[in-house]
Symmetry: C2
Subunit: 237 residues, 2 copies
């Protein structure tokens, strides 16, 4: 007996506040046969924690556990194994929702599963509120407006590359700041973008922190942190 | 008798699919005393249409009506008048939710009210799913991944500026395409970014359309349209 194959959902669960889930994500959490999510080697998954109030009891769950080594991309064999496990559910006719912090296609690890599964399985991506806009909301300053050019720069880039990009930038969001904070601060200062810049960690979460960059004295930051800057300085705030 | 002043909410209602509202937006729509939204001179407001299933009957509403002239920024006197009307409600202790297509701080017109009201009134911005990530979901291709630099470029920029920015770009989203489509296509071709690029209009809405840029023969596009391109071409899809 062959069954109708199941659908793979990439489900954006938003930046951290469980109230920033979309109605669509909530519905699909209730409908999906299997729920999968990235998780550290031990302990709780952030994506699952965000969605937890809406995950029915007793649902089949797959924790995709991998070493969380910053600035190194995850072991491909972890994704090979997870994709095989998910594919088996899909082939048996079960739908699988993969929970993604923020938005699945905005620097998300969902791409690793998408690349392995989307060509052979019906795949639907449900966009979520990204950390990018949640961070601007937390800072109380527009990310970009009118005909601004907006540049999103990952903190792990080399200092020279950061400076080269920042020199021409108008509105800027620097993501994945983490242990690159000191380098990022130097690059912003070198390009005149430090004035009016804000550092934001854990946007929309209980531990949210917003600091003017000039008042930030640490040299490292948590993973969930971002810096927003604008050529106009803090004319917004 | 003085009353406690009301809170101003900038409420992202997402890209168009009413199911992409957040739980928080839905709650605040039910709680707000007054609901305001941008609207054309005649006819329905897009932001209100998206939120309509959640707006209680008989709620006080403010339609901020303005001429929708593309590529010209709206008359400031319209916002002066709307801000005064909203401020009067806030001063009388009523909360006001301003509905914003997508996200309030991602190229949103909310900034015009924010600039006039936030310094004197308690203001909370509720992020929403932006057209940026909804468009990537529609195209079925990651917007940006790993350590990509992502550049968001408004279509109204001069062709020379577009070419200059695109020449150095990796992941690209071109917004506000509209009547600038022919110019944008030329700039993408001149910088080798046309291969694998996608054109997407009305992402997440019933009339959503996704076309490979090479198969698009029009020279103008609707307001709600975007082009996604990547230096890697369509290696994603």
């Amino acid at each position: 007996m062959t069954s109708h194959p199941g659908t793979l959902y990439g489900l954006g669960v938003g930046p951290g506040d469980p109230e920033l889930l979309t109605l669509k994500a909530v519905r699909l959490l209730q409908e999906a046969d299997v729920i999968a999510y990235p998780a550290p080697m031990e302990g709780a998954s952030m994506a699952r924690s965000i969605a937890a109030p809406h995950i029915p009891e007793g649902r089949t769950e797959i924790a995709i556990r991998m070493p969380m080594v910053e600035a190194r991309f995850p072991a491909q064999d972890v994704y090979d194994k997870a994709a095989a496990e998910i594919a088996a559910h899909l082939d048996d006719g079960r739908s699988v929702a993969v929970l993604c912090e923020g938005d699945p296609f905005f620097y998300g690890s969902f791409m690793y599963l998408f690349g392995r599964l989307a060509s052979d399985h019906r795949t639907v991506v449900v966009p979520g509120v990204s950390a990018l806009t949640a961070t601007a909301a937390a800072a109380g300053a527009p990310l970009a407006a009118r005909n601004d050019v907006l540049t999103v720069l990952p903190g792990p880039l080399e200092e020279e590359a950061l400076v080269e990009r920042l020199a021409r930038a108008e509105a800027v969001a620097i993501i994945k700041v983490g242990r690159h904070l000191a380098k990022v601060k130097r690059a912003l200062a070198a390009t005149g973008l430090d004035h009016g810049a804000h550092y934001i960690s854990h946007a929309s979460m209980a531990q949210q922190r917003v600091v003017a960059l000039g008042d930030l004295h640490e040299d490292t930051a948590p993973y969930f942190s971002m810096i927003l800057a604008h050529r106009r300085g803090d004319a917004w705030s």
